[in-house]
Symmetry: C2
Subunit: 143 residues, 2 copies
Amino acid sequence: MNIRQKLKDAGLKITPQRLAVFGNLVNYTEHPTVDKLITNVRKEHPNIGVGTIYNILEILVKKRLIVKISTDENAVRYDASTEKHHHLYTLDSAKIEDYFDKKLNKLIEDYLSNVKIPNFKISDFRLQIFGKFNNSKNKENPV
Amino acid sequence: MNIRQKLKDAGLKITPQRLAVFGNLVNYTEHPTVDKLITNVRKEHPNIGVGTIYNILEILVKKRLIVKISTDENAVRYDASTEKHHHLYTLDSAKIEDYFDKKLNKLIEDYLSNVKIPNFKISDFRLQIFGKFNNSKNKENPV
DNA sequence: ATTCGTGCAAACCGTTTGCAAGGGA
DNA sequence: TCCCTTGCAAACGGTTTGCACGAAT
């Protein structure tokens, strides 16, 4: 399903700004900070305001088209991947990449369903994997 | 090992402020925001400055006595637990609790050591478990 | 005496808000 | 047309920085 359709299904008007912001998130597996997102989007839409971008992001989160990612920076990042997955964090948190692994999903899911953490009802989980990339291809992503 | 000793081993001078900040983090498994931490610490040290607290926290991180926790809030949280563990996030992120589970550690560790993510060298991992508490004991923690 | 740590206050920067003008259905 | 969305700019709040004073060795 494409971006326009997702926006429409969510009951949102299709605007160039929303297409740009949403499209930008969808097309990169490295999850930019809002700051970087703004830079990217302004290549096509030089006059887009930061308020607009934050507004769009919040709406997309509310409509569950994207999701906030935890970081230990003072900046939020967003993830437009719909399929369940995990994240690879580089040590300096300069970027966060998706990691898809259905076997891992199931492994953890099965385990957690058995342990039954006392007094805690699990709704979801996500693995943070810390480390670093070691090939040149990933060292510098054009985002 | 107690707090004083850890500070000393790290080559840090022992000051009332550092004891208060570090001690406060150690004694609560719920990881407060800095804002809350300041409130707590000021009960004993009304004149401690925010700069001092941020400064202390940064030093403790650098000395690896505490660790930053990822959140999707616009506020950093810290964790003084030295033993490897995971985190329980409540849906509104109002608090983050520790979750210790050696079997889970090993399960994931074994799995990850086999999958060998291409071009990525893993140094650590941490599971984020989202959900909510459902007993009164945990609903309101006195922190 | 020198170095390190603290308190204070201003600066910084990511994010939020308010409002008038503009654009999609 | 009507309401939703945008651009702009000011406000906000968590964090950082600079600096002079104070404490420890």
